[in-house]
């Protein structure tokens, strides 16, 4: 089965600026991949190429086996832009009907009800977009992206305008989508969320991939912390395989061991290391 998104040697040049300088990336079926990087790293450009909004200078991008931007590829995606706007005069329901028709799925009321429930907007069905808060509009944007049951969801900063409860709603939604086998490329600055929900993380810097892997693979060992009756001791160079030996030594010297904790770097630390402290 082809990957939901496969990107090979992707280059996008704007004048003399390389927004993407040879990116390789893959999102497999049912995988949730987090795309991280400072502003200007090329994240949005990559997502836009996958959607067919922007043409690559060179390289190749495929969505579910079809060239990015082709009709078949666009039939398989759902997209929420970082900056988006819907006509203020439309109600939530009218907007979803419009997108159902454009997606070719027909005005299925049951699907609209389900989507609005998924994003917590069931009671705002008849409310006009202009009467909604930014957070509600963002959740409506996610519902719009899910119209047509896409196989690949491309979300560019989907939680930037949401409060903590709204973020949790989206996080649960992403977990639900993962269970349903939907692939997601999540472009976000919220590292804690990416760490919580993503199977893989790709970090871009200057249009290049500087780190990629699962959060566990990317996390570096920072030693072992052992809690004893004499206090907490940290062994900075120790690894998981050193734990039995460390505990045995402590017991032999008469100490009581209450707990052992493996220390690893957080995704935030991995990210800061990868981008070298760069912010934009």
């Amino acid at each position: 089965m082809p990957a939901a998104l496969a990107v090979r040697g992707l280059v996008k040049r704007y004048g003399t600026i390389d927004a993407l300088a040879g990116v390789d990336l893959e999102v497999r079926e049912g995988q949730l991949v987090g795309l991280l990087g400072p502003n200007g790293a090329g994240k949005s450009t990559l997502v836009k190429i996958a959607c067919g909004l922007v043409r690559a200078t060179s390289g190749h991008a495929e969505v579910c086996g079809a060239g990015a931007g082709s009709r078949a590829a666009r039939s398989a995606i759902g997209y929420l832009a970082e900056l988006f706007r819907f006509p203020g005069w439309m109600s939530a329901d009218e907007l979803l009907v419009l997108h159902q028709r454009l997606a070719g799925s027909g005005p299925d009321e049951r699907q609209r009800t389900e989507l609005l429930e998924l994003v917590g907007l069931r009671d705002a069905r008849s409310r006009r977009v202009e009467e909604m808060s930014k957070g509600m509009q963002q959740r409506l944007g996610i519902a719009q992206a899910l119209v047509g049951s896409p196989r690949l969801l491309l979300l560019d900063e989907p939680t930037s305008a949401l409060d903590p409860v709204g973020r949790r709603t989206v996080r649960r939604l992403l977990e639900e989508l993962k269970l349903r086998g939907v692939s997601v490329l999540l472009n976000s600055h919220l590292l804690s969320e990416v760490e919580l929900v993503c199977d893989r993380v790709v970090i871009l810097l200057g249009g290049k991939v500087v780190a990629a892997g699962s959060p566990g693979e990317l996390a570096r060992s920072r030693g072992v912390e052992v809690e004893t009756n004499g206090g907490t001791r940290t062994y900075a160079d120790a690894r998981r395989e050193d734990v039995p030996r460390l505990v045995a030594e402590l017991v032999r010297t008469g100490q009581e061991v209450y707990g052992v904790r493996l220390l690893t770097s957080t995704l935030e630390e991995v990210y800061v290391d990868a981008v070298g402290g760069q912010t934009s």
């Binding site: 836009k48 706007r85 006509p87 419009l98 070719g104």
Partner: protein, 283 residues
Amino acid sequence: MSAVWTIAGYGLREALRRKVFVVVCLLTVAFLALYWLGARYAFHHIANVAPPEGVDAPTFTGAFLFGMAMFGTLFLGVVLAIFLTLGTVRGDAERALLQPLVVRPIGRSSVLVARFLGAGAVCVPYVLVMYFASMVLTGLEGSWWPDRIVTPGLELAAGVLIVAALSLLGSVFLSSIANGIAVFMLFGAGLVAGLLGNIGHVLNSSGLIHAAKIAAWAVPFEALYQDGLRAITEKTSGLTGFLLRLGPFGGAEQGGAALRLWAVAYLVLVGLAAVAGFARKDL
């Protein structure tokens, strides 16, 4: 094709909600009211005036007034067409309204065609209503009716459609304000071409007449307007006919079937250029 109708319906609803539509409707009512008053007084006065020899005063007054109404109709139709289309691509992309639509499995050309149909669905009925309302007011007040009833109205509507297509083309490359200014300037260029033709006829300068004709055909909404002006006094001859052919805003010039074919070809060429430009555009 259903996507085209969906977006056309969306564009139509959006167009009818825009303030410019209300403004144009109010201007239209004001224009028609003033036109009715003007026609009433003009026909009333010419009944008491001895016209120059060879001039049929009621025909001259009716055709002159109606020619002005045709220009007013064209002008307001153009205003409407430009405001409905000036931000279709770049303007809507900058406002982030376009991207959610074009990532759907519809062709970008479908978006352009749909927006053109949406603008046409507003502008064409508007122009025809305005045209026939002016005609009825002129006929009721002065008992004067144009020689050709329907064709000039259709030509005005076609002229407005061409402006809408040019504005769509401009919207692919220019920001909304720049596009609006550019298309209005193009409309002004057409008007100047017509006025140059007037001067050419008065001076009997074949060079000026030829240049004006080329310019009018380069922006065929002007040539269609001139053909429409000509059609309303098609059977009027003599001094009255000559004076009317000078027209109130641009001279009356026969375009005929060749012009209509050229207008269709022009529309297709402008449409193809817009589609080609949009297909290559990063959003």
